[in-house]
């Protein structure tokens, strides 16, 4: 794979020149069946770096304040797909990162697999079948990275559909058509399966609070028990904290051990923010997230 070769060469060059102290990228696991995040600090290790449709993780997570020991390694370079770069843009717009604080190795991408186990045993260099690609890839408009210090890989000629389409958006339309009681039962069935392992929060690059609201116990705002009441307030609050920020990287749903369709909630809120405030997160590092600014012309028809 030419892209992989260029990536290794670039990484080695950056490390030997000392422009970065660590390259955050993907590498094979020991069995060579899955990719997993790797942190390369020595030039000679850069040939462990890989890039293929199995590279699903959003590595911008490791740039946040949750990983002080990685920040202590020094200026990082990050191997980033378009969707990861959107998260980096939001982090920069929220003052968590400085643009020059990270060297972005943008990789062109033709779509990743929804979950690595769906593609067990296939040759990673071939194109992946459409049906195991997540909805975000079917609507991806950043297959050529929009912000990067260097871009590696063949230019993609994919043009996303006009209106967002795919399984996530179909299910959102389906839920919108339901009555209130049906929607409630739909969500309560999913939320009652939540076991409060907080994988959705821990893998989200935008959930970087030092002490999350669930860990505040004076008063205990969100009950930590995993009964439906505690799960509902947790999922509603997390959705509200991501409004206008979530860039649809899909990590929360992928990491959920009980498969709660979190993308439905986050994408429904993204549609609402697009419609109400004409804002799409992750495209520029200058634009403030919608919830911390306002506009006198915000339309509302429900306030008496």
């Amino acid at each position: 794979m030419a892209a992989e070769h260029d990536l290794k060469k670039k990484a080695k060059e950056l490390l030997t020149k000392g422009e970065v102290k660590v390259v955050i990228g993907f590498g094979w696991n020991r069995a060579g069946t899955r990719t997993t995040p790797v942190f390369i600090t020595r030039p000679e290790d850069t040939d462990r770096l890989v890039f293929n449709p199995l590279c699903v993780n959003n590595l911008s997570l490791y740039l946040t304040r949750k990983f002080k020991d990685i920040q202590a390694l020094g200026r990082p370079a990050i191997v980033a797909k378009g969707c990861d770069i959107k998260c980096i843009a939001v982090l920069i717009s929220e003052g968590q990162l400085k643009r020059e604080g990270v060297y972005i190795i943008g990789m062109t991408c033709e779509g990743v697999v929804y979950r690595q186990e769906l593609w067990a045993g296939m040759n990673p260099c071939t194109r992946i079948p459409e049906d195991i690609m997540p909805t975000k890839c079917h609507n991806c408009d950043v297959r050529n990275p929009h912000i990067s210090d260097v871009t590696i890989g063949e230019k993609s000629i994919f043009t996303p559909p006009e209106k967002p389409a795919g399984m996530v958006f179909d299910r959102i339309k389906e839920i919108d058509r339901m009555g209130a009681g049906e929607r409630w039962d739909f969500w309560m069935e999913h939320f009652s399966r939540c076991i409060k392992c907080y994988a959705c929060r821990q893998v989200c690059p935008l959930c970087y609070c030092e002490r999350c609201i669930t860990e505040k116990n004076m008063p205990q705002w969100i009950e930590t028990s995993a009964h439906p009441r505690g799960n509902l307030s947790w999922n509603l609050t997390r959705a509200m904290h991501l409004v206008g920020r979530c860039t649809f990287c899909g990590e929360c749903e992928r990491a959920c051990p009980v498969n709660i369709p979190l993308n439905l909630i986050n994408q429904k809120m993204t549609l609402i923010v697009k419609d109400a405030f004409n804002h799409s997160p992750g495209y520029s590092t200058e634009v403030h997230p919608p919830m911390i600014v306002f506009s006198p012309e915000d339309k509302e028809d429900f306030i008496k």
């Binding site: 839920i175 209130a180 509200m240 809120m269 609402i272 923010v273 919830m291 911390i292 306002f294 008496k304």
Partner: protein
């Protein structure tokens, strides 16, 4: 007062999160003006609608509220100039989230009530109480209260 009250008809619990400078003053004016209105509302005063966190509303429903009213200064009147603009943005998102989660939005109402609009305050309280009374107790949330 008859000795034995009729079997108690359902009386909804309404929580009102109001801003201190406009709506609370309006409610106060209603009080000093001896205007009568339904007593089902429990008022919580906050400095500004900008301070009203959606988590307060979730917590209110969790602890047994059948209806929640959130009210503050009209856009432009805010004592902190932009609090209600921020709040409006938050309400637009939060209302849609609760609707998507299947909560009946007639149980959650938003309004602008200025310090002089005592009559508007009385009307809002009376009709949210009547409306929620027609809807009945918020059984879905109460069933959650019993836990798993």
């Amino acid at each position: 007062m008859e000795k034995n009250l009729p079997i108690t008809a359902f009386e909804p619990k309404i929580m009102a999160f109001v801003c201190n400078w406009c709506t609370y003053a309006g409610a106060d004016l209603a009080g000093t003006g001896r205007m009568e209105y339904k007593p089902n509302v429990r008022i919580i005063k906050l400095p500004c609608t900008g301070r009203i966190d959606p988590l307060f509303i979730i917590k209110a429903f969790e602890n047994g509220a059948d209806g929640v009213l959130v009210s503050g200064c009209h856009p432009g009147d805010c004592h902190y100039t932009t609090g209600n603009y921020h709040a409006r943005r938050r309400w637009i998102a939060f209302k849609s989230l609760l609707e998507f989660a299947g909560i009946d939005l007639r149980r959650l109402q938003f309004s602008w009530v200025s310090a002089s609009e005592a009559i508007k305050w009385v009307d809002i309280i009376n009709n949210i109480t009547d409306e929620v009374k027609r809807l009945g107790p918020f059984i879905e949330y109460k069933r959650l209260k019993e836990g798993i």
